[in-house]
Amino acid sequence: MKPMRPILRLYPSAWRRRYGEELADLLDELPDDRGTTLDLLRGALTLHVRALIDRLAPRLVSAGGPPMPTHPLQRHPTATALVAALLVAPTAMFVLVSFLAYQLELPGWAAAVAPFMDGLGQAPRMVDLFLLAAPLLAFLIAALPLVGLRLERVDGELRITLALRARVLNLIVLALCVLVGGFLASHLLVEFLFEAPR
């Protein structure tokens, strides 16, 4: 199996049922490279955004009529939370290890994690970017199934209804994203403001 195939799981499930097999077959004929991987990720994101727009747009211009189908993300909040958790996991590990080693200064931790940190320091910038962006992206993914935005025109005026629902797993992942993202952001801010440039 191609290493890129698991990315197909990020595609909307309805779309995947129709095109997933064809796309998987096409991947077998293409080289595994970063460009293809990024294109697959961008494709998945585009389809989710498109589905969201398709779902919301009719509500902007009409009221009544049959209920709109629920977005796949809202039908699978648990799976969404797990994807978000996987996405934020590397950053969470990094933050936890840094916290134990450099904030709490647990004996032996700094020396133990030094090779890992050195390796990270020499990794491509894309790795840094991923670590930074992952909590934000994971937050959005975990939050999406919890938020229902309904725009409708009632008696000539636009009515916006925001519905929130609570799903324990999604809320836990959201809290983790806030914690990890907040720690990382504050750490970077302090480093930027108070540490002399190297």
């Binding site: 779309w15 796309l23 096409l26 990024l38 585009t46 389809l47």
Partner: protein, 101 residues
């Protein structure tokens, strides 16, 4: 300046490709690369293809083994003809103006 050339519109490239006859995904990638010099990624290809099918501009044919070919519908043919005619007029005017300078 953002790229607004036909090469930046995967949907149009696929319509042009399918106007030459039915093709499956990989054949479309190769065809687009040969006539436009654009390497479409698999996500871009199937994202655009699904939109074209949803809009009724292309339709899927019965699978041939593991591959499923697609072909233009009558609406798709009219759409690609209209788009290319519009582009052709703009290109003619543009080339004439550039040539006069």
């Amino acid at each position: 300046m953002p790229d607004r050339s036909p090469g930046s519109d995967p949907g149009l490239l696929l319509l042009i490709s399918l106007s030459g006859g039915p093709k499956h995904g990989h054949a479309m990638l190769l065809d687009v690369a040969s006539f436009a010099g654009v390497r479409l990624g698999p996500g871009t290809l199937y994202g655009a293809l699904s939109r074209l099918e949803e809009d009724g501009l292309v339709e899927a044919l019965p699978p041939e083994g593991r591959r499923r070919p697609y072909r233009l519908t009558d609406s798709g043919l009219a759409a690609v003809r209209g788009r290319l005619t519009g582009l052709s007029a703009a290109v003619s005017v543009g080339l004439a103006r550039v040539g006069n300078r």
